[in-house]
Symmetry: D2
Subunit: 352 residues, 4 copies
């Protein structure tokens, strides 16, 4: 699955966005490069990608292709909250910490209200309270939309029941529901439920359908379940510089990504690599596993000398960013068993 099966093992565990493109996707993109095509999404490739997503989600959906997950999130939120609204999200969410205020920019100044909960999952009781907080009071921003990340930023997944619970609370309070699916494929692969169950059947209005971390190169998408929002999203996307003229090149990526379950196979592989890593590290003296690696992210606590030894070997990964001594390993569709085993052996060796 990875092109690095020979030569030295890859030592990049910093992020799944350090991976390249899935070979099938690269090929598909090159295949549509010749000859003219209608611009701005009127081409056949875009229609095919949309059709595939409708099939996968078991209903008609609209699709907007965008260039980044940040754009997918911010555009979605802008369609779901007025400028005087608030976005209820986890305090550790990507939209709250890692997008440089993109949601605030796209929404014309809505406010993110950070909530707590384990493993970057929103606590239902906190949501229940926040969803009604000062509703209708002009002195305060109006609770408008809930944004959940599935899988979460720490690699956990909400169970289907948990998503349904959040969906119910959201609906009862009259709010809208957005899902940041930067690692949506990983969640589906981990849970074994259908994409439909995890989204619109649980009340999700708009899904940021992340593809870049799992195999595409320059393409992400918004999947629109509430199709009354499509026209607004189209204007907003153009206005944000997100409407590409040669859209076939993004569409071809997405189409190949969805074909023959490549998206799920890639995600399952990445998840499996994290599980393999977890398995390999669990018995190493001095290594403390943290949380659960539901998808392709593994947190653990390492003695400093191991961390330093790994860095000296050329390994890349985040460390001491969340807490002193805590490191994060991220696998991807391109990570090989050999890469994982090599890392495990290094840890074992340094732990000795």
């Amino acid at each position: 699955m990875s092109s690095t099966t020979t030569g030295p093992a890859a030592r990049v565990f910093s992020s799944d966005n350090a991976a390249g493109g899935s070979p099938e996707i690269v090929e598909a993109m090159a295949a549509v490069a010749a000859g003219p095509a209608l611009p701005y999404g009127a081409d056949e490739c875009t229609a095919a990608a949309e059709s595939r997503l409708s099939e996968i989600f078991e209903r008609d959906v609209d699709v907007l292709l965008v260039s980044t997950g940040t754009a997918a999130n911010a555009l979605s939120l802008a369609a779901l909250t007025p400028p005087w609204g608030s976005v209820l999200c986890h305090r550790d969410s990507h939209i709250n910490n890692d997008e440089c205020g993109a949601p605030e920019f796209y929404t014309a100044g809505a406010k993110l209200v950070p909530l707590g909960g384990d493993d970057a999952r929103i606590d239902p009781e906190q949501l229940r309270a926040a969803a009604r907080h000062k509703a209708g009071d002009v002195h305060s921003v109006e609770p408008s939309v809930v944004s959940v990340t599935q899988a979460t930023e720490t690699g956990a997944v909400y169970t289907l029941d948990e998503i349904r619970t959040l969906g119910s609370i959201t609906e009862e309070a009259g709010l809208r529901l957005h899902m940041d699916g930067a690692r949506f494929a990983g969640a589906v692969a981990a849970l074994g439920c259908t994409p439909a169950e995890l989204t619109w059947r649980a009340g999700v209005d708009l899904l940021s359908f992340g593809a870049t971390k799992n195999g595409t190169m320059t393409a992400d998408a918004i999947v629109v379940f509430d199709r009354s929002l499509t026209s607004e999203l189209a204007f907003r996307a153009k206005r944000a510089g997100q409407l590409t003229s040669k859209m076939r090149f993004q569409a071809a990526q997405l189409d190949a990504y969805l074909r023959d379950d490549l998206w799920l196979r890639n995600a399952a592989h990445a998840n499996a690599m994290a599980a393999r890593l977890q398995e390999g590290l669990k018995a190493v003296p001095g290594v403390e596993l943290l949380g659960t690696a539901d998808v392709n992210i593994l947190f653990c606590r390492l003695p400093r000398r191991i961390t330093e030894a790994l860095l000296a070997e050329g390994y890349t990964f985040y460390h001491d960013r969340w807490e002193p001594g805590v490191v994060r390993f991220v696998t991807s569709f391109a990570t090989t068993e050999r890469d994982v085993d090599h890392l495990v052996r290094s840890v074992v060796r340094h732990a000795a």
Copy 2:
């Protein structure tokens, strides 16, 4: 140069954005797909593209890769005007008519002040007046930045002297200068002057360096001459969802585009195809050529029955959009002599 040299001639003259990807560029993108790379522009490919641009512009420049020309324009303008400022531009400019208010969005509400002038070129006297209009008066937006399109939306080019004149007026009034170079390559190819002369040596602060219309697939760029703006642009780009994680894939396109003068060769070819079309049509009875096809855009007035006959043959081009009877033909790097000759023969036949 085009992949459609056999089979039926291509009949797409609607826009250069209907073309695919230049083969060298497609290949280059595929070539960087395997293996890990640092994300967000810290990769070698991005450094290479930046280095090439510094060479081409004969000085150190900074570069921001973006996904569309609209994003390049809107981001640039946001860095050059405060929200209470005005953008002086031609009334036929792309930023004024074809970006759904992207400049207003990115600038947080600055105002575009449309000016006149032949062939979508800003009239210097109108600019001189507008550049001082109500300056310093809080009741009115503050003249802040001039945006010129080179080549223009109607396919004309500013001469080097004309650009220098606009640059002088801009500088004397204390304003900033942006160039929308959606067809910058075409202008350089047409004028035979250096990229440096046409830009920073004439006072340009930021250049939207268009590549998509001339061979890339999902990559455009901002070339930063006033490097004091780079940090601001970087924050703005991230916040706009324009900072891609796998930037190598855009950078590889740009790098190939700039290698071995591909960008200039592509543009010269597109220009030559428009000239060939002009030459072919000039003697056809009933056909009236309009303006000059300095680059790859040709306007002419056609009898309605010719327009309709061409459409019936499957030709695509804009007509009756600017004025009844006026049609626009756009060539591209992928247009072949055969395509042009085929079109000319059709016109001749229908004119008989």
Copy 3:
């Protein structure tokens, strides 16, 4: 009506905003100063002002008190257009020229599309074309709201039929209608029709009900005919810093302004003073009257030496702002016959 009936005649004809407060209004404001009152518009005074406006407009209306006409206009427009919409207005309108981009700020970047027409009145045919221009095309801003100024910035009024025509065009195209009534009282006084006929019966959704130029001190209002917009306007007003805590002080001004037809008496007086000035100047050799002084604004062309002589006498008025040689005189509720006659005599004397 003015407090300057003795002493030297007032020589201020620059703008009706140079006048002070109507004595009845000053008194009313002082009268509510003692004792506590509920803040943010929950007081009796605010209810009274709203009730009076409902009576005057012959239907239930909602009211937002604001501190300036610019705020009234910009807030109204923000409720009537999405950020990707356009505001169709006259090119000489206050919102287009004199508000430093307030509509762009409040609407989060909507675009003002300037139209032509005599005396700052929108030409119906131009409106008809603009109202459909590129509707539904994501590349262009979406026609969303029409803004008419009644009376216009040059002192003309739309007849009732003219307003109805614009209202019909607006409605047929599915757009919304805003009226900038900075001098609404003057228009009602001039036309002799009812406030209802001039506004909601003709399709107006929101009215900027100007009061400051006609007697109040720190109070203007938005009159809401489409009450589905009230909640949004309330949030927007708070967010814009326009929701005053001690609202009784604005409400008391408005209440007094509307009591016993003071608003219409003030406006009729100002109109009469402009008519008196017109009458006095019409036969003066060298003076050319321009347009019609439907309300309290009179444009004329004066020989330069007269203009200079008047300025030397201490008169204040705008000159050479629209065209060389053109001056504008504005009267107000506070202008006296004596003030006008004094000005006429000066012109006559300098013309000799």
Copy 4:
């Protein structure tokens, strides 16, 4: 000092914004109502108010008159942070909770970062960490401005040393400093230090100089210490609909407010009334005083039956808003000893 010295005692302790206008201020406003004046702050009254503020702050300052404290805060913050910046403030601050996102609106989407600390005072250590947090990282908003409220929303004051400490931390990190002085007069009166010491000498760049809660009716101000910001603020204020034409009416209020130390006398009186209330309640069985009433706000815990009995008597005050059982009493310049004593007697009676 209050006009309600006869008749029933006032029972309004909900907020200082429920008070009316100070008689001297009402009188001053009425006194400037007659005759013409230059608009938009070019009048003598505005110059006089600015001059008084320069005197009070012992240096040249610029002044912007605005209609609300929310506008003062939001405009100030917009001048001190770019859209991609963050505003470090206390989590209980007015800007964070009670302005419906006005700072986000005016700044075009900057982010408020809430910090902790006792009595709504920012904890210096938390500030120190936040001021450097991810600085320069484009993935995150950039720490840009610190906003402190003096006196705080809970009625506490920062000591001069505390303000200086926050000022030092702010300056060392290269950030700007804003002070929300909605109750600035109360803080000055409580601390006995000079306005200069409390502000620019400690590093404050812009001060929201609150006047409405302490005696004016429709006037607040921004005091500009960093005068390089004045031009930007003027454009922003106009654009926000905050530049009033008849500015003399706001200026007259401010001028009277500052004359003969009225502002300090009013504040000292309000503070004294809160102290008197505290003294009266401290020995009442079942009543628990909370925090310190440094200025005119007193928090305490009351048995429910007392709260209900007071409400039944017609008293207005906030209760059960922060915590069940917690009530807030606010006094003002208009509160009399009789009002306070009457309230104390009621509490004593109900506690029996």
